[in-house]
Symmetry: C2
Subunit: 402 residues, 2 copies
Amino acid sequence: MRILVIGGDGYLGWPTAMHFSAAGHEVAVFDSGVKRRWEARLGVRALAPIASLHDRVATWKAVSGRTIHMYVGDVGDRSDIAAALRAFAPDTLIHYGEQPSAPFSMIDADHAIETQANNVLGTLQLAFAMRDLTPDAHLIKLGTMGEYGTPNIDIEEGYLDIEHNGRRDRVAFPKNPGSFYHLSKVHDSNNLMLACRLWGLRVTDLNQGVVYGTDTDETARAPELATSFHYDGWFGTVINRFVAQATAGVPLTVYGEGGQRRAFLNIRDTLQCVGLAAANPAAAGEFRVFNQFTESFSVGEIADRVAAAGRALGLSVSRQTVPNPRVESAKHYYNPKNSALLALGLAPRRLTEDVLKDMLAWAARYARRIDPRVIQPTVDWRLGGGLAVADGARGFASAGSR
Amino acid sequence: MRILVIGGDGYLGWPTAMHFSAAGHEVAVFDSGVKRRWEARLGVRALAPIASLHDRVATWKAVSGRTIHMYVGDVGDRSDIAAALRAFAPDTLIHYGEQPSAPFSMIDADHAIETQANNVLGTLQLAFAMRDLTPDAHLIKLGTMGEYGTPNIDIEEGYLDIEHNGRRDRVAFPKNPGSFYHLSKVHDSNNLMLACRLWGLRVTDLNQGVVYGTDTDETARAPELATSFHYDGWFGTVINRFVAQATAGVPLTVYGEGGQRRAFLNIRDTLQCVGLAAANPAAAGEFRVFNQFTESFSVGEIADRVAAAGRALGLSVSRQTVPNPRVESAKHYYNPKNSALLALGLAPRRLTEDVLKDMLAWAARYARRIDPRVIQPTVDWRLGGGLAVADGARGFASAGSR
């Protein structure tokens, strides 16, 4: 396959690119570098030092002998994406090129708009470019399980068969997410569904659970190949954040009662799932939806597991309840389906104590880089607000400015 | 009430502003003038000459003795909308400020993106501004019945009670529209639903049918008060377009077999519906949805009715089948509900032969301004494309440019 990884500089994008390259495919990364600029704006950095994209590609060449092609461009810029599609002529596109933080999108109007502009308009630009330049290619688009919210019914994979007043139809599964970031992914899905219907594009929409994990077979091959593992309140997902907190000896911050239940998967299973999707492409005109996760846990259960693994390593791990900055149900029904990827052969890695111990051991190598000040949530879903982490940091329009 | 009409320079916005002003409310219009720039770009104009917004407001003052306040600004610009909310302090906002043409949104990536940026990001900016400046005000947001598409089940008003695998939930009615314009309205609805849930905003989302009509009690009071009636392929809705074609003696252009069924209402009923919504505001935190239409017809039935009314006036009216440039079902189930506004007291005006004769008589006054070249559809939903109406007109990225 000829695989273009959009957002190929990110936490998932870079490991994905190496994974396919290692398997013998022709791979190119496409990235604007905007995520690194957002990190600079927010005053956060990945736990392991991250090489430049140029150095990553060069190191990969040195250790594997294989070339990953590189396009520095913005998917929302017509000439950037057209140039890459013309030059590389991919048959498979994997699209991670989106602003990935819910709290970022809730700071204020500017950040909500920046998120939806980057994500929704960028993906729309990509859909048109594919129509015009690579109409037979397969687009694998990363969405999130958070798009569904927490309905009181089983969460099917993208579609729902309903009967209403004696008539039947198959409809897009109704979504009810909890942030403007999550909504950007819903808008993407709706736009792409139309693009498939109108133009016959092939799209697989992966509603991904919360990803955890520190490394993959390829990132572990050299320090310059490390992925962008975040533990901060902006880009750090809950398991990764708890691992860093346990490592730094600060209490695990559980939002509210911790009864919120979510779907999770290991970063290595992200690679496995995307690989299965790529090897089994959607049909022409098909908007195919997979729920991409392996297990579901409540936030409280995760805190318990991280604490247990930490204690097994001799760490002193405590737990702190902080008021939930988000608007979400404290306790709720949650039964999402994930049979499609299992049917394609997904072999789940479970969140075992050994996995958590490995993560803790990895994080311990970078313990002195953990800044406890950036872990606490600073954005209130009701009021917005921003960051005041470092003295003198740029202030955003905050709740107090109204 | 203190009513801010966003998009107050448009086909519906301007009559709405005068309607509430005539009824004794304090009214302000807010408009960026971008619709007039789009008209200039596309080479089309309203059938009746349209005064500047300044002259409209001055004329209204002269004929009614009443002041309509005016804010020239972009709803997507934080300082513009904040200035208007601070200065006018509305308790009711009626939001028509969106790019309203489906074909415009299907020209190419730039126009799809311009549509979703203007509509979705503008409405998102407005939601944040209301949260911070007028949190108790009632937002009446114009959506469209086209958001629903043509599902095989009855179309309820915004929500659907479903049972699935023995469990029940009430969900947003699944939408499946047919253009990036219609999708912009879906994205708006999804964003505003979250704003209500997070911030307690009061929103009424009006899924409006296709509006027809040439004038209202207030537009008829002076030529300078005329509304922006369009008959062209870009902004002209089907009944208005057929009326202009019958007037100009050119065949009515029916797309495909004409079996597409849609919901309609008279522009005077738009004013009535918006008045009912404003007088009965949504509760704090409520995202209320009304389907706003009075009748449904197939396109073929409408052609028959316009032809009959034209012949009764001595016009020679013929009919021409053109290939459907859109991707839509030729024949389909269509049973949308509209009981909420009827329960509030909506008294529908029907599309009678007398109503059509009045429209034809009005259009005849401007017959020499009808340009048959701008009526034919020029955008193919599958290929995009643009306009090549006037020789030397600016060309858009067309199907041939790929």
